[in-house]
Symmetry: C2
Subunit: 224 residues, 2 copies
Amino acid sequence: MIQLRRVSKSYTAFAHASVVLRDVTLDIPTGQFVAIMGPSGSGKSTLLNLIGCLDTPDSGTYELFGQHVDQMSEDQLSMIRLRRIGFVFQSFNLIPRYTALHNVELPMIYARVDPAARTRRAQRALELVGLSQKLAHKPSQLSGGQQQRIAIARALVNDPAIIVADEPTGSLDSTTGHEIMHLFRRMHAAGKTIVMVTHEADIAAYAQRILYVKDGRVSEGVLR
Amino acid sequence: MIQLRRVSKSYTAFAHASVVLRDVTLDIPTGQFVAIMGPSGSGKSTLLNLIGCLDTPDSGTYELFGQHVDQMSEDQLSMIRLRRIGFVFQSFNLIPRYTALHNVELPMIYARVDPAARTRRAQRALELVGLSQKLAHKPSQLSGGQQQRIAIARALVNDPAIIVADEPTGSLDSTTGHEIMHLFRRMHAAGKTIVMVTHEADIAAYAQRILYVKDGRVSEGVLR
Ligand SMILES: Nc1ncnc2c1ncn2[C@@H]1O[C@H](COP(=O)(O)OP(=O)(O)OP(=O)(O)O)[C@@H](O)[C@H]1O
Ligand SMILES: Nc1ncnc2c1ncn2[C@@H]1O[C@H](COP(=O)(O)OP(=O)(O)OP(=O)(O)O)[C@@H](O)[C@H]1O
Ligand SMILES: [Mg+2]
Ligand SMILES: [Mg+2]
């Protein structure tokens, strides 16, 4: 399903280009649950952004669902992102002026889901992450871990084929983190592909496969 | 040094007031390294904001350095925050338009440190968190864990008596997290008081004392 071939990515913000991902070749079969670990600054978020079609490679190819996404227009990519990928950002990216409920409804508004179904699905997603009591709160009225769970709920509402999650338990206490991992396992059992960055070994243990990113290269950990 | 007596805090954003901290009485002696754990939404950041003088109790008293800070003006509190407390925020609170170096210099600009000493101390702090190569980067050009480390560096530059850190390793890989804890241990050995929220047991293990927050109440863990 996810096929990266010799993908490279650099940033050229400064006088010299700095290479972040070097010649990455990676296959993630449909329905696999993968954890990605590695040092701070090694390229994990950059890799996730490529996989989630939020960014495009400088060189190499990316086939997703059998299509060459590296050659697609921004409009085509945004349709794929909206309907087929659910992204949990490392810094959440919630809209400050909207309530928790409205933040979770946003992807469904863009996908033209009717209002009644939208509210029902948003409420259900917030219930799954333990935040039914916080529907009317804005992000500034929520704790860090509550904001993170809003971001997770939002990623699930369009029932995406792939969940791409960047440190989804980074702001959660241990117990809540494991509850979220049980939710991810249920999503996985329902057929979803999950690609998750984490720095915690006992969170990575929920996945079937572990990849390590270091100096822009990807290597295999343990396949179970 | 830190004496909270019967401190309560509620939020009244909605029709009913919701109590977040209830009747908290807590002493943290000068020079102690305390870790605070507890469920998401239990009141840890709210407690840290009170301790760090970023917020005031609704009832009860707070004596810090022998003074009743609960009765101080905002000007007096801001002087204490600037010179005597270094705060690492759960969501970093970096200034997007400033470089890493300038973000770290900001507290020293407010404290009227001369420019040469300022730049030297900012560079030193960034070196201590492993980011000497990123001085000219803006936050959007940095990874999540690099942003977190800028926030840590910034908290150290006015050589505060107290470090208040809200999940300081939440976005860091294991190795870098332990490096930051070794830095905190050195700060502690130099006489600083450290109050740190964390959800990871092996990070809490660096502290001398563990407190648990649950439903707005604080209880003792293990004192070593
Ligand atoms: N401005 C506000 N208005 C209403 N409720 C608020 C406000 N800010 C925070 N809260 C609520 O106060 C409670 C405690 O928040 P706090 O940020 O202290 O929790 P926390 O223990 O730090 O959680 P986490 O581990 O998720 O960071 C939460 O239930 C939150 O929803
Ligand atoms: N816009 C940019 N311009 C220049 N360099 C950048 C830019 N964005 C990211 N970088 C650099 O690219 C490298 C990889 O960043 P990335 O966010 O992928 O790391 P990461 O593995 O997710 O780190 P973390 O674990 O800290 O979140 C970092 O060294 C970062 O400084
Ligand atoms: Mg990252
Ligand atoms: Mg918090």
